[in-house]
Each structure stands twice: as structure tokens, then as C-alpha cells.
Point group: C2
Chain length 199, copies 2
């Protein structure tokens, strides 16, 4: 099966927009999508980047562009407070679910993104992540136990290191074969790539 | 007449790609384009940004994305050496020409971008800029005299300060009314904006 690797941070607005579009785009061309939560903080340590809304001039541009890009893509969006947030708990929960039920993990990812970027829930708080998982019928106690454990911590670190080793330098980031695409604004190039097999 | 303000640095690959597309896009919707060369170095002092190809991970991504984005837009492109370069001479020459013959300044901008991104001429060197202008029939001596003068230096500084005051934080950057669009990858949003009057 042909696969698009989709890397994202749960605190990334453009990652959220991409999460609402990528499955449909992939399906149109006979691809499936492998979802990979990462931690932008780890990437930024290497690239020297800072959160988009921090720099003078850029910060106010991005606030406007987030909202307009959401309207452009027809996706509901409200910039949450606080923003950005640490997404360790959400990413670990995703991986724990994925090892048990990939479809449930996928549904959880959508729930988590929408909880943050539509409902403004602070997904940095493990309690919020647990509540979201519980809503889906996940055993809250089992997940809570796993989130604090060494195993899932190591699992996420391995995932993030693997992403960086593949050149992932932001969110959303897509890889098809060896070809990298960074940004929700690269979806048109990604789609042409799928259509043509490379250009 | 309805106008799109188009800000760019002559050393910006995405600015070059935009320069090959913006006039046609604007004309389709009854707009004209006002071209504004700026100096990214002055912008970067405020935003803290660094040239795209410098950071680890990002650098290799951008090299690939420049070339692929050029193919995507159907524009010839070769990453020049050295890259990036200072574009003070090119920007000053553009402004000097614009005060005398706006059409000639526009043609010079295309010539300058292509000289750098297709032919690999180092447009940081005033001699190269003078040679390009001379090819168009410009009086080389008059331009050479102007490039070293205080007047055009001040003129460019005012232009760059004005751009920053309007929130310009990168290249290419477009403003329609009060709405800012940053990046050649925002052309689809810009076009929808022109079509709909805002969304």
C-alpha cells in the first residue's frame, strides 16, 4: 500500500489544518496516511526556530494568516489561549492508542486537534487528554498509568528522533517515498506529486 | 486603479518565482502591481530571522523546495553561488530607474532576477547591475553616479522603513488594501481575495 507519512505537532495550527485535509487528498490518489505526532520543541532545538507568533512583525502576520488559512480551507479555527503549548501528553496518548487500535488513535488525533483549535481546551494538561480519551471509551486508568511510564516516554523519543533523522523540520511535514513537503501550503505540490509520480 | 503592492528582495528565490507570476494574476482580476524592492537584511534585524538555507535540517529542505517550487510554477531556476547576496545596488538601481521610467524599471527587475536565478550572475556586484542596465539602453555613467549618491541611499532606506511599517516580514510579500499575504505559496489565497473581495 502506498503511504504518505504525515508528521505534526498537536499545537501546530497549520498541522491542524492539514489534519483536516490530508486523508481525503491521499484517498483520491490511492494512498493511505501514516500519522506521526512529533514535538516541535525538539526540532526547534536543532533548527533554532522559535514559535511563529513570537517574532516582531511575523507574530501579527501569523495570527492573521492562521485564521485566513482556516477560512481558505473551510476549517473551523480559533487561536487558543495559551498558545503554543507542550504536547507531550497528547503525543504519548496517541502512540499508546496506536499500539492498541490504529483507528481509535486516528479518531483521537482529530478529537485532540479540534479540542485545542476549536474548543480551546488546554491539551497540554494530561487531565484534558485523559478526558478526551475517556470520551472515546478508552480506559482512563490504563492510559493514565501508561502516560507516566518510561516505555511510552522512550517510544515518543524514538519517534521524534526518527522524524528528525528523516529531515522533518516543521509541522505539518509530509514524506512520500523520499520526497519531503513542509507546510499545509505544500498540499498542491504534494497532490501533483501523487498524480504524476514526481515532477 | 486597484493595486497590489508587491515587496521583494532580489536575492529571494520565492520572490523571484512570484515575480514571474504576479503581473499575470493581477491582470486577470483588473489589478496592477506596484513593485517594491526591499532589503531582507533590514527585516531580519527586526524578526530575528536568518537566511533560509542556514539552519540545520531546514537548509537542505529549502534547497530542494526552491527547485521543486520552480518546476511547480514552470519557472526556470538554478540556485546561484553565492547565495544569498546583498541586493542594495540592484534595489537602488530599480528605484532610480522607476523615478525616470516605470516600465523600464519593471523590465529591469525581471532582468535582474533572471540574471541571478537563471544565469547565476552575482547581482551583489554594482558592475553587474550597471551592465544589466546598460543592456537595456540605460546611461551607465548616470546610473553609476546615482548609485553612489546620498539621495538614492536615502530613498531606499525610506522604502524599506515604509515596508516594515506596513508589516512586511519576508519576501515575497503582497498587500491588497490592508490585507497582507506572505509567500509565493499564498498566491492562491491572494487570488481568491481578489475574486471575492475578501473571505
Amino acid at each position: 500500500m502506498k503511504t504518505i507519512d504525515f508528521y505534526f505537532d498537536f499545537s501546530s495550527p497549520y498541522g491542524y489544518l492539514a489534519s483536516e485535509r490530508i486523508d481525503e487528498l491521499a484517498a483520491r490518489h490511492g494512498y493511505t496516511v501514516a500519522w506521526h505526532p512529533i514535538l516541535l520543541g525538539a526540532v526547534f532545538k536543532i533548527t533554532g526556530a522559535v514559535p511563529l507568533i513570537e517574532p516582531r512583525l511575523k507574530g501579527s502576520y501569523y495570527r492573521r494568516d492562521f485564521a485566513r488559512s482556516a477560512r481558505f480551507h473551510g476549517v473551523p479555527f480559533r487561536l487558543p489561549q495559551p498558545f503554543p503549548v507542550a504536547t507531550v501528553a497528547a503525543a504519548r496518548a496517541f502512540l499508546w492508542l496506536q499500539d492498541r487500535d490504529a483507528r481509535q488513535a486516528h479518531a483521537f488525533a482529530h478529537l485532540c486537534f479540534r479540542a485545542y483549535f476549536v474548543d480551546g481546551l488546554n491539551i497540554a494538561e494530561p487531565e484534558q487528554v485523559l478526558a478526551l480519551a475517556e470520551r472515546m471509551g478508552v480506559d482512563r486508568g490504563a492510559l493514565a498509568g501508561a502516560l507516566g511510564g518510561a516505555e511510552i516516554k522512550e517510544r515518543l523519543r524514538t519517534e521524534v528522533d526518527g522524524a528528525i533523522a528523516r529531515g522533518v523540520c516543521g509541522s505539518p511535514f509530509f514524506i512520500v517515498g523520499d520526497e519531503p513537503f513542509w507546510g499545509v501550503d505544500r498540499l498542491p505540490q504534494l497532490e501533483r506529486w501523487l498524480q504524476t509520480g514526481g515532477f
